[in-house]
């Protein structure tokens, strides 16, 4: 069990008040808050060993390089990858997926090929494939959802065919909370010769992930949703695929030798990291991983399952509120999207904000899914390690009060 009271002390922002009320931060699927150790890792970096990396012979540069590459190794271990050179540092999940689309995708997806994805993707795992399909004459296919917001896999053998070159799907939905059977789907896709990209933006922060066990080809996640600073994300690529990929961005650090008209590329992973990297924030991501590992990812998952279970019970008592996503706790994460016919999510958000409760409202960057749910927008509460049952009570009470207010 997580010692949540203890954890809360590590997050300075949680002592903030909003309109005089203690902050109840339930917008974790958008971005997480940061513990002191992560914030301090940035301060330490800038106060004592800030330097550009890789190319310096002086002490600061060596220290910064070592800590930067150490942090990469932490990421490697954390997601169960085998080699540091499989991990490319990017800004966020979105850039990671674009990198795959514009390098591997551009050269391996041709006219007539299919890209299979789902109806629960974040725009970041949809629009890059739309663009690629358009550029290369390929087409997109979709795995449909069932009533509970889980993938309908009954016709999966018709969907994954020899035309399928890529299966791109999310590990956990940021709207429904659904955890998809990515390992099983990867096996099916591989049998048909397709590669698999997993959008791990919502899974890596909340559960143990092992990319080697999943056997996926590409895996993307963002630091900012897992206690780390903004501006840093990770793309994992299977080594044998990465070896064959063309660079994405060109410039300093990613080259080996440069002449007037041509250049050769640096070793992996630097071949994919052009220009001065986001050094401090990768080090911050390393500190975030230290923090999560000190809690244990199984404990994190357990805490969120318990809290989600409690919240779903409370929501159940709120009549007039529809909750989306799977009912089975083992198949969902700590994201609860809900809807009322009487109060627009936006108005719900404003009312809750007055009580210090931060939720997200809108299409959550998943418009096709929102449309499937037959709503214009939803309200979403999402949990993390520092959230409590008491906060869930505040949330449901405030929702109740809002419903009453609008019914007046």
């Amino acid at each position: 069990m997580l010692d949540v009271n203890h954890i809360r002390k590590d997050f300075p922002i949680l002592s903030r008040t909003i309109y005089g009320k203690p902050l109840v931060y339930l917008d974790n699927a958008a971005t997480s808050q940061k513990p002191t150790s992560v914030i301090q890792s940035l301060v330490d970096y800038y106060e004592s060993y800030n330097s550009n990396i890789h190319r310096g012979v002086h002490t600061l540069s060596m220290e910064a390089t070592d800590r930067h590459e150490d942090a990469r190794s932490k990421c490697t271990r954390f997601i169960g990858a085998k080699e540091d050179k499989s991990l490319i540092m990017v800004r966020n999940t979105t850039e990671a997926i674009n990198l795959v689309a514009q390098t591997w995708g551009k050269h391996n997806i041709s006219a007539g090929d299919e890209i299979l994805t789902t109806h629960m993707e974040h725009h970041s795992n949809l629009v890059p494939w739309q663009k690629l399909a358009e550029q290369n004459g390929a087409s997109l296919q979709f795995i449909e959802l069932d009533e509970d917001g889980m993938l309908n896999l009954s016709n999966i053998d018709d969907l994954i065919t020899e035309r399928t070159k890529l299966l791109a799907l999310t590990h956990m939905s940021n709207v429904l909370g659904t955890i998809n059977p990515v390992k099983e789907l990867t096996a099916v896709a591989h049998k048909m010769g397709a590669k698999v990209l997993i959008d791990g933006a919502q899974s890596v922060p909340h559960m143990k992930v092992d990319v080697t066990d999943l056997d996926c080809d590409f895996f993307a996640f963002s630091g900012h949703k897992m206690l780390a600073p903004t501006g840093i994300g990770v793309l994992y690529v299977k080594p044998e695929i990465l070896e064959s990929m063309e660079p994405f961005l060109f410039g300093g650090d990613m080259v080996s030798q440069v002449w007037d008209d041509t250049a050769t590329w640096n070793d992996l992973p630097w071949k994919f990291e052009a220009g001065t990297p986001n050094i401090a924030d990768l080090i911050g991501l390393g500190a975030a991983i230290d923090y999560l590992e000190s809690l244990g990812m199984d404990q994190v998952r357990e805490h969120e399952m318990a809290l989600t279970g409690y919240a779903l019970e409370q929501f159940d008592r709120l009549n007039d509120i529809k909750v989306f996503g799977p009912k089975d706790l083992s198949k969902r994460g700590g994201v609860i999207s809900f809807h009322s016919d009487d109060v627009h999510p936006h108005d719900m958000g404003t009312m809750l904000d007055r009580e210090g409760i931060a939720i997200r409202t809108g299409h959550h960057c998943a418009m096709p899914l929102t449309r499937k749910l037959s709503v214009v927008a939803t309200a979403r509460a999402s949990f993390y390690i520092y959230n409590t049952e008491e906060e869930v009570d505040k949330l449901t009470a405030a929702i109740r009060a809002t419903l009453d207010y609008f019914a007046k």
């Binding site: 627009h344 936006h346 108005d347 009312m351 809108g362 299409h363 927008a377 009470a397 009060a401 207010y405």
Partner: protein, 153 residues
């Protein structure tokens, strides 16, 4: 679970009765068959949408229809707007937009301008909720853009 008490008194400025009324019963929903100006406002970040069709006779607005999807503020604001501009000239409509924008940005309006805004004056309470100002403005700035475009054609 002890029942907390909520103080929504500040919120009353935002959700005035007249606003909720326009939200629940938006005006001018009957689509006009032929239009001279189509006005579309979309907030890409939150997904709110308003669409207006405007029929002109000469330079003046003879009919308006409005449809949309979104929060109470964006929809009530659009509904009010669709009422107010009927019978106005395009220049007057644009002035209304400018006045309304000024009001939302916290500028004091003279009495005439206030009068012209009519029921939309109720939206001045949105000022205190800065993040909702965009909602209130959605239809109005779309109208402003459409008038500008129409004039330049």
């Amino acid at each position: 679970m002890s029942s907390p008490t909520f103080d929504f008194s500040e919120v009353d400025d935002l959700y005035q009765e007249i606003i909720l009324d326009h939200y629940r019963s938006p005006r001018n929903q009957k689509e006009i068959p032929e239009s001279d100006m189509d006005v579309t406002g979309i907030n890409p970040f939150c997904g709110d949408e308003v669409h207006m069709r405007i029929k002109l006779s000469g330079e003046s607005i003879s009919a308006v229809s409005f449809s949309g999807n979104g929060c109470s503020i964006s929809q009530a604001s659009a509904s009010m707007l669709s009422d107010i501009i009927k019978g106005k000239s395009l220049d007057e409509a644009n002035n209304l937009y400018v006045d309304f924008r000024d009001m939302m940005h916290g500028n004091d309006l003279n009495e005439d301008s206030m009068d012209n805004l009519g029921q939309a004056e109720a939206l001045s309470g949105v000022k205190k909720f800065p993040i909702r100002i965009k909602c209130a403005l959605l239809a109005w700035s779309a109208l402003g853009d459409a008038v500008k475009k129409h004039k330049s054609e």
